[in-house]
Symmetry: D3
Subunit: 187 residues, 6 copies
């Protein structure tokens, strides 16, 4: 045990059902100290479903993978493709950067960054997702590399970003990194 049975209306693609059993299995094992070998999770289909006095014949949509949304946004930003990056954002999107700088427009962030580095890129080391009802929180961590304002290259500078993703769009980004520590050390 535990054996978990998830009943869905038909129509979800295999990828969605596989993501579902993986995540539900992980959620179960975060509470019960069961070995993987003893954790069984499966999807069965309902042919007809009634709730709230209505009969539903189609299931709800599936969310995109929140980490994929975040990766797409960061790649668009790194490529300075603001059109594509903006398509990832929900209304009211807010960014918080080291030192507490806040932005709501990507252009403001770009302008702010200009005084801090000529160019910056990210190596991703890992993504973590935290599932919280309507919101999926995504963490991405890794290292920054790029050029200081004077053209000196830098790299291997630790960073971590925290995103809140609602309905497949970003509502909040928070950033921490060691840029200042390195910049200070570099003086």
């Amino acid at each position: 045990m535990p054996v978990t049975q998830i009943t869905l209306l038909e129509g979800y693609p295999p990828e969605v059902r596989e993501r579902l059993v993986q995540r539900v299995g992980d959620a179960v094992r975060s509470v019960i100290a069961a070995p993987e070998a003893g954790t069984t999770t499966y999807v069965q289909h309902a042919a007809t479903y009634r709730r709230d006095a209505r009969v539903f014949s189609n299931g709800n949509a599936a969310h995109p993978v929140a980490s994929d949304v975040v990766r797409g946004f960061l790649q668009a930003m790194e490529a300075r493709d603001l059109v594509r990056a903006k398509a990832c954002l929900a209304p009211g999107f807010v960014m918080v950067f080291p030192g507490g700088a806040c932005f709501t427009a990507l252009e403001d962030l770009v302008a702010w960054g200009k005084g801090r580095y000529q160019r910056v890129g990210k190596h991703f080391e890992g993504f973590d997702e935290s599932w919280q009802g309507d919101t999926s929180v995504v963490y991405v961590r890794g290292t920054l590399h790029g050029l200081w304002p004077d053209g000196t290259p830098f790299g291997d500078i630790r960073f971590i970003d925290r995103f809140e993703v609602v309905q497949g769009h970003l509502t909040r980004q928070e950033v921490w990194n060691d840029l200042a520590a390195h910049a200070a050390a570099g003086l």
Copy 2:
């Protein structure tokens, strides 16, 4: 839909079962765009259970809440109660601090900190848990406050810690914060 049924052996306290349905419901909703009102999750009991040719009469233990383990560790550290803090650690525990400083012994961290601040405390703004099989990743974020080496007070300095928790014990801590940014600005 979805309707999720979790079958467990009897014997788990209500708190554990409630945590379980909450987390499984969250995992389900991270994949399927179902409203809360249409997401049903429940625990039923198995009276007898056989897997792998054995009959089990007792369920597995429940894990402690990983965020609670992390909070307890951070509070012990802030109180400089190293005995209690060490009890939270798994063998092989590693810490990584801003600038890339690595420690395996709490005493080394304490010594390293002495050159950076007279005293430091944390206000917690939020915990996020990411459930990943044997490991629960816990993020805690908030602000640092304390005294610089020269006795000047500081506060409202953003931080975030990432912990890996296995079997109720910490195996890894990574720390990011704006201390250097503030220190640099303060010079």
Copy 3:
């Protein structure tokens, strides 16, 4: 709660499965004071089924909607299409009319009516079904309109009919109405 799962062999059309979840949901809510929002009912399919030492590969037939059978009978009677009306009847069909008049043949009813009105029709205001094992009891209520024997028109006279329906055919009809009250008042 409650969550109700109905397991059927495959092969029933969607209309039947929808009727099934609607009725089962209603039956559940007639006992448990649960809101509609918290009442979940669904059909799942069995691929193979064994009971009574036999394997069944096809489900049982579905009944027609008993109210529809009753409506069809009443419309045939109003159109004096006795052939179509008789096709709705089971062997042993009995009718009981106001004052206690009993008939087993539609022709006898027609003859009896001739002394009471030149013509009569029904406006249906509502059907109620009561499910009782092999029998579905159907009530239909509304108003009568037509012509008295002397040709005077009448209308808005309350009536209610009770039918017993077994295997899609009528076994019994009982009739109550205000015709006598109006006839008396009209003298």
Copy 4:
């Protein structure tokens, strides 16, 4: 088949669970032409239940049997115990009597009846319940007996009452009977 599983939180008395499986079995068989021998219905208990982002530890209340509420009301009326009868009524209760007479107060009905009979009682021959979401419709049929205004006794006069019951209280009563037919015949 069909096999129907009803999942409830614990705490309902056996009478309620038995009523539930009886009614659900009847609802299933009103749609699927399955023999009783092949219709299986059972209640299982959920230990913990979450819906709409809340964890419920107690089930909803059970409704009283609507037919019992109706019987109690009719017995109180026959005994002219208006206090007990009124306790059965919901706000907005309406009565409709033969000829279309409408009342909202029991006293008005009593006054109206005084011109029609000295005394009236009911023999119950059967109750039918029709389960319709928030409302249970109850039919009671049988015969009236009593004394005409002139003291002559009467009996065996067919009647049928239709009640709407919501949350265990009556919201509507409609009455049909053969009193006028008999009164007219008696003149």
Copy 5:
């Protein structure tokens, strides 16, 4: 997979439920080439159960283990405790011995054996049960030891008995062994 859920009314002792999940797991694995590790079987309880228009509140009795009934019979026979042995028999019990000798009374068997050996006992090497609806077939195999009519000892003579067990009582015994082969060889 497969995951097998057995729903029972409450009241069976743990030994019965354990036997049940063991046997059902074995039956499943006799058909599906699933490893033990992937074969999950459990019992859940129904709180209330209706079939065939009746509500059952107690489960059926459990059968004794058919192999235990057979072992008890054979031990009673070896001890020549015919009273105890007869208590294991159903009406109509028949025995078939090597060469085709048939008996219905234990006394006849005892008499027949007298010409074949002074004494005989059995070492049990294994029991096999075959579950076939109302009947459980039990095989017991092993070796015979004892004394020939002339007092010479014998041993290690292979035997196998086949029993049919219905409702915990023996209805048929068939015996095969190598006694004749050994007797012939011994001449």
Copy 6:
């Protein structure tokens, strides 16, 4: 009760699912004294399944019917088609014959038989299967017929064979029969 639900991945042919519900129903009834009429067993399909941290999209293979494997082997032996017979054997196959003769090669058995009969055939009266985890034990019983070494015919000689079948191949055969009894009697 009992109601048994077996959850499988899709893809098994109807014959396999029917065999499964038959055997599981038999296993249940070997423990619980339930009538056939009250024993319900069905297969439902899982759309997606995860265990041991893997997602499985195909079910395991089905075993051949062990009795069919045995029958095929015995028919091949009777026809002296050793190639076909050998294809039924697993590595390490062992045979034990009356008197305790052991063989591992079919040719040795054939040679041994030559001194005992010119020809032998089997009439099958019944097969019993005993399901025991990885192994299915198959018993076949009936009568032998053939020619003694001197050409005299024989028949109606009781036999029983016990086979162990693993993964559709025979690992062990044990034989008991009345040949010696008849041979002795025939001298």
